[in-house]
Symmetry: C2
Amino acid sequence: MKFCSNCGAGVARRVPPGDALPRAVCDACGSIHYVNPKLVLGSIPEWQGRLLLCRRAIEPRYGYWTLPAGFMENNETTGEAAARETLEEAGARIELLGAFSMISVPYVNQVHVFYRARLQDLAFEPGVESLEVALFEEASLPWKDIAFRTVGLTLKHWFADRSRGSFGFHAEDIK
Amino acid sequence: MKFCSNCGAGVARRVPPGDALPRAVCDACGSIHYVNPKLVLGSIPEWQGRLLLCRRAIEPRYGYWTLPAGFMENNETTGEAAARETLEEAGARIELLGAFSMISVPYVNQVHVFYRARLQDLAFEPGVESLEVALFEEASLPWKDIAFRTVGLTLKHWFADRSRGSFGFHAEDIK
């Protein structure tokens, strides 16, 4: 950030009074510009033991497989964001079953949250950000072509929890 | 947002190509400025069945009681943010026990996440944002003077879960 988004003047980077971290501070209008981590929301859509994955049509990780997920928007809840991204990327309507994983990725300033979900029908189709969308059993899942570590971790937890007959909540970090 | 934080030119608010929502778009340098919900991280510090609350020395809700919590910063994990806020607001060192609640508050574009925690010692003291810090049993808790609904909900879930002998994870919304 080089300019104040409120008044257009140049900003300085320094620790404001009473704060502990340097911020973009505008001496012209007094604005302090905070930058915080972003939430990425997604779902784990299940249909009779198989999970729905999308093959990415965009960078980063073009051509790799992912769970439907994307940046949470203002004016929505975490569950609404997960369902919206699933509809946008996989054309899929889901019933949310519960929050399942929350994974901090501090080196990109993101927190990824995935909900367990039940696919409502088989009328899914790739959205503009997906090359294809398909259902996978555990044995046929493209483990070596998963786009992001948060997705791989979430999938591993899901199958492990299913094996032991009980789904938990998994909070962890990728550093 | 009125000006581009990258080049200082005026921004227009419109839907960029391939997007679904209006964004602050800069025609001078091509930047698109996204605004997303913020994460608030906090803890539920326990000491022998009592919980640590802070009485706020700042607005909003000056003088009301809250769990230690605040905006997550870049370059940290959710757990690190919860522990840092607890140290800053209550001077308290905690051991994190697990993620406990995640509550969307879409009308302020925030998601509040609280971790269960064990207080490591009784050497707590109010930070600059707190008037006082104290331990409360369930019966003596200032229920009518709780600062935020996310904190009240989290406290209710905590005591209910303790009563039934098992702590779960609680994802919900305040609309």
